[in-house]
């Protein structure tokens, strides 16, 4: 054990990898070894090699360049959509827990309504009203996950509201906002963070699925889900076209989850000075 307050090791590894992916994604379009839309018909469907790390696709485009250039779509999708569902869902859930009665009924029945529609269908519905595009996909995916965040935030807040320190705040005459912000939210974070990291992964997957259905960024853009969709006809002769973005997605998801769990432990004052192996 080093020092009194060191980071959990998993958190360190996870954050380094996620940070690396974020930096690569941000720089992606500028550092690609090849142009992402440069056709090279003579080099089509080549296996991974020193020249083309992840091989080439059916038009001879460099898969590595395309994965690099498409990374920011996936990241924006995951973090953006989850951010939206957090910003809407958590306050709604906390309000529902605090104001029992008709406010709660209104919020929770609305949420039930939303949850009863399958996510892909809901995404399709939202996107059907407008032209496809990245930011619309983000909003659509974000809205799809609002009910989950609302329910979680409500459940966590309900048990916290039964604690005596909330009664103490009421005995001081503190208002709803103060109680929710100072007494409930800091204690509600751990489960919400874990759920958020899970949600990021699901949002990326759902975003990819919507792209796959042709509702996200449109070709020739190189979004990961789109790439996987486009690779389908060649899955036998050139599996790397789909595998490369798929494995990158996989790595990102695992690391985001590890960071989520690490953050939960780090933010818990009860675990300070103990640290994990």
């Amino acid at each position: 054990m080093l020092g009194r307050r060191h980071l959990p090791r998993t958190l360190t590894i996870g954050s380094v990898v996620v940070l690396l992916i974020v930096v690569l994604a941000a720089l992606g379009p500028w550092i690609t070894p090849y142009a992402t839309d440069a056709f090279a018909v003579r080099e089509r469907l080549q296996a991974p090699s020193a020249a083309h790390w992840f091989g080439t696709d059916e038009f001879g485009r460099d898969v590595f360049s395309r994965v690099l250039a498409g990374a920011h779509y996936s990241l924006l999708m995951g973090f953006g959509a989850t951010g939206i569902s957090l910003l809407i869902g958590v306050p709604l859930g906390m309000l529902a827990a605090f104001h029992r009665g008709w406010v709660e009924e209104l919020i929770m029945r609305g949420v039930d309504l939303l949850i009863s529609i399958p996510p892909v269908l809901l995404g399709l519905l939202i996107l059907a009203t407008a032209d496809p595009g990245l930011f619309k996909t983000i909003i659509a995916v974000g809205v799809v996950y609002v009910p989950i965040m609302t329910r979680l935030a409500r459940a966590v807040s309900l048990s916290l509201l039964a604690e005596d320190f909330v009664d103490a705040a009421r005995a001081r005459g503190d208002g709803a906002v103060r109680i929710l912000w100072r007494e409930i939210l800091p204690n509600a974070w751990p489960p919400i963070i874990v759920e958020t990291s899970l949600r990021i992964t699901f949002a990326i997957l759902l975003g990819s699925a919507l792209s796959f259905l042709g509702l996200g960024p449109q070709p020739p853009a190189s979004e990961w889900g789109l790439m996987i969709a486009e690779s389908r006809p060649f899955i036998e002769e050139a599996p790397w076209i789909g595998l490369a973005p798929g494995l990158c997605l996989c790595l990102l998801l695992v690391m985001v989850n590890i960071v989520g769990e690490g953050l939960r432990d780090l933010l818990d004052p009860r675990l300070q000075g103990r640290g994990h192996g």
Partner: protein, 680 residues
């Protein structure tokens, strides 16, 4: 079977170490004890003393990371270390603290009692169920057959604990291990269970090892006593002898710290200073010396368990300790007894009922759908009380009687259905203003739940100061230091999180937070019930000092009559939502009293009062049906007749303001024997 001379259970030099993140913790250090057939031994110590670990070690139920070693561990000639798994549930029965947690909510009571018979004895299910009914009968459950068919949630706490005892008895055990068997129960129910256990010991000749923090219970039930401190046996011998003349400073400290109902109002209790030693580095010398008033140079040497007058004592100064007089608690000076001045807080005719389930439910009657209003439970029914400046009104009653609800009603934390409230002559509206919030504060029972785990002490104490505009900036910091000093904690505690403090320290922070707004009135809702005796004494002393220094008025809610008798100037006794008796402490603790008060006082387990008259109630508050008359009538031992069931009892008020709600004339009530064993 071994011959009668060898003890049924014998352990010698049992040591136990747990591996934790902070290193190895020495939970038990060479504990020895012997328990003959049919005898009962009490195992006493504060939390962290290792008493529950010892029980788990005997049952072979310790988890991973526990290192157990012993020179001998025998049960009836068999090596417990090898056979514990085969013995438990068969020849060794267990009863744990919380019956609601022990019983499986999805199985019938009868099946749960029959289960050990089916699994251990190979009985057919039908025969086992018949036996279960007989067992339920034996533990004093009326209508045993109906109870056997019911599920745990349909029974009251006392009934559940009886069922658990029946389960433990199913395979005719020779030894019962009882881990705080009555701690989760009300005092009148506790008395019933203790009677039951005492009877079982005689009829079945079963040996008992009773783990308890309550010396009164041990004195009531046990022949022998083992006192554990931080994993070591400090005193062992006959219970009556040890409780009469404690020879170890720790035992002595426990007795002196105990508020006792039969001693009435005391000036001060004697707490044991400090806390448990660090068990990761066991002290080779006496591990109590840091907290001991008798400590001297030689205490750093290892102490052996020596034989003193038939008792084993681990203290080389045992003779000096025994010879020194017990700190005689001085009664409260008469001058300070009576509060003066007009009432500060007056609550008139407060009522509160709770709805069960949703407001309306759809039912079908005669083939037609009907909307039915949900049933309501009346928690507080038309209660009036007042608290004067500098006065402590003790509110005592069993769980579910509505005392906590009443405490929250007078703070307007719950919306009342009816009633008026005034503070200092000013009417308090249903949504009170800032000034009322500042002047009326609350201290909670559970120190873990009363502080926000994510807030440092300084943050928690600063906010009320800023909220009520009492201090700001550097001035607020100085005020926080002053508050910490007020509850006798060093200023360095400001930077701590709740999990970095002990239960007693957390409770002090809870008190400091309530005091931050400089209130006049404090509701203490079971404020010391979750604390160990030694810590409880210190917090009680602190509360009474604060009352004197700051002129605070308390509404002190507790189920512990000993604590109430110690702190209260006036006492109100509550039963099923109503106050049945109210008067000064001396009036309430001596006849004439309400039959319920009598039963309550008589049920309190006291140290050294085995001969007093016992009044036992049947059932418990939740099982009694409600009636239009006196709510206590179904359980009342002095019930007159039909009048008790049909007419609400009149409130008889004496010239001194002592009020009793009972049909019986005051003269009859005055003739009742003193329930505390002597005239209080």
């Amino acid at each position: 079977m071994a011959d009668a001379k060898t003890p049924l259970l014998e352990i010698r030099d049992l040591s136990l170490r747990y591996a934790t993140a902070r290193g190895k913790v020495q939970a038990l250090d060479k504990v020895s004890l012997a328990l003959p057939r049919g005898r009962a031994m009490g195992l006493v110590g504060e939390s962290g003393s290792g008493k529950s670990s010892l029980v788990l070690a005997l049952l072979g139920l310790l988890g991973k990371g526990a290192e157990l070693s012993s020179a001998l561990a025998q049960f009836d000639g068999q090596d417990l270390r090898k056979t514990a798994a085969a013995l438990r549930g068969r020849r060794i029965g267990m009863v744990f603290q919380d019956p609601s947690a022990v019983l499986n909510p999805t199985l019938t009571i009868g099946y749960q009692v029959a289960e050990p018979l089916i699994h251990h004895r190979g009985l057919a299910e039908r025969a086992a169920l018949a036996r279960a009914v007989a067992l339920l009968n034996e533990v004093g459950i009326a209508r045993a057959e109906a109870v056997a068919r019911s599920y745990p949630h349909q029974l009251s706490g006392g009934m559940k604990q009886r069922a658990v005892i029946a389960t433990a008895l199913a395979c005719e055990p020779e030894l019962l291990l009882l881990d705080e068997p009555t701690t989760a129960l009300d005092v009148t129910v506790e008395a019933q269970i203790l009677d039951l256990l005492d009877g079982l010991r005689r009829t079945r000749n079963v040996a008992m090892l009773l783990v308890s923090h309550n010396l009164g219970i041990v004195d009531r039930l046990c022949d022998d006593l083992t006192v554990l401190y931080a994993g070591r046996v400090v005193e062992q011998g006959r219970a009556s002898e040890i409780l009469q003349t404690p020879r170890h400073p720790y035992t002595r400290g426990l007795l002196a710290a105990l508020p006792r109902a039969d001693q009435g109002r005391l000036a001060r209790l004697t707490p044991i200073p400090g806390g448990l030693p660090d068990l990761t580095r066991p002290d080779p010398g006496c591990n109590f010396r840091a907290r001991c008033a008798f400590a001297e140079e030689a205490c750093t040497a290892p102490q052996a368990l020596d034989d003193k007058a038939g008792c084993q004592v681990r203290c080389h100064r045992a003779d000096a300790v025994a010879a020194a007089p017990l700190p005689q608690p001085e009664p409260m000076a008469a001058a300070r007894k009576e509060a003066t001045g007009a009432p500060l807080l007056i609550a008139m005719e407060m009522s509160k009922s709770f709805r069960l389930g949703s407001a309306f439910s759809l039912t079908f009657s005669g083939g037609l759908p009907r909307l039915r209003r949900a049933t309501e439970v009346v928690a507080v029914d038309d209660v009036s009380l007042h608290v004067a400046r500098g006065e402590v009104l003790g509110l005592v009653g069993e769980s579910g009687c509505g005392k906590s609800t009443l405490g929250r009603l007078v703070l307007r934390l719950l919306e009342a259905n009816a009633g008026r409230l005034s503070l200092d002559g000013q009417v308090v509206p249903a949504v009170p203003g800032v000034e009322f919030r500042r002047r009326a504060q609350i201290v909670f029972q559970n120190p873990d739940s009363s502080l926000n785990p994510r807030q440092r002490v300084r943050e928690a104490l600063r906010w009320p100061l800023i909220r009520f505009g009492l201090a700001d900036g550097a001035e607020a910091d100085r005020e926080v230091d002053r508050l910490l000093e007020l509850v006798r904690l060093p200023a360095s505690y400001g930077s701590r999180y709740p999990h970095q403090m002990s239960g007693g320290e957390k409770q002090r922070i809870g008190i400091a937070r309530a005091l931050a707004s400089r209130p006049d009135f404090l509701v203490c809702d079971e404020a010391v019930s979750a604390l160990d005796v030694s810590v409880q004494a210190a917090v009680l002393n602190l509360l009474s000092d604060l009352r004197e220094r700051l002129g605070l008025a308390y509404l002190f809610i507790s189920h512990d009559i000993g604590v109430i008798a110690h702190v209260a100037t006036r006492i109100a006794v509550m039963y099923r939502g109503a106050i049945v008796e109210q008067g000064s402490a001396a009036q309430v603790l001596a006849p004439p009293y309400h039959p319920y008060t009598e039963a309550l006082l008589s049920a309190v387990p006291l140290v050294g009062a085995k001969t007093r008259v016992r009044v036992r109630l049947m059932g418990d508050a939740s099982t009694a049906p409600s009636s239009t008359g006196c709510r206590f009538a179904p359980r009342c031992p002095h019930r007159i007749g039909a009048i008790c069931d049909s007419l609400p009892p009149p409130v008889r008020t004496s010239a001194q303001g002592h009020r009793i709600a009972c049909h019986l004339p005051v003269e009859t009530l005055a003739a009742l024997p003193p329930a505390l064993g002597r005239a209080a």
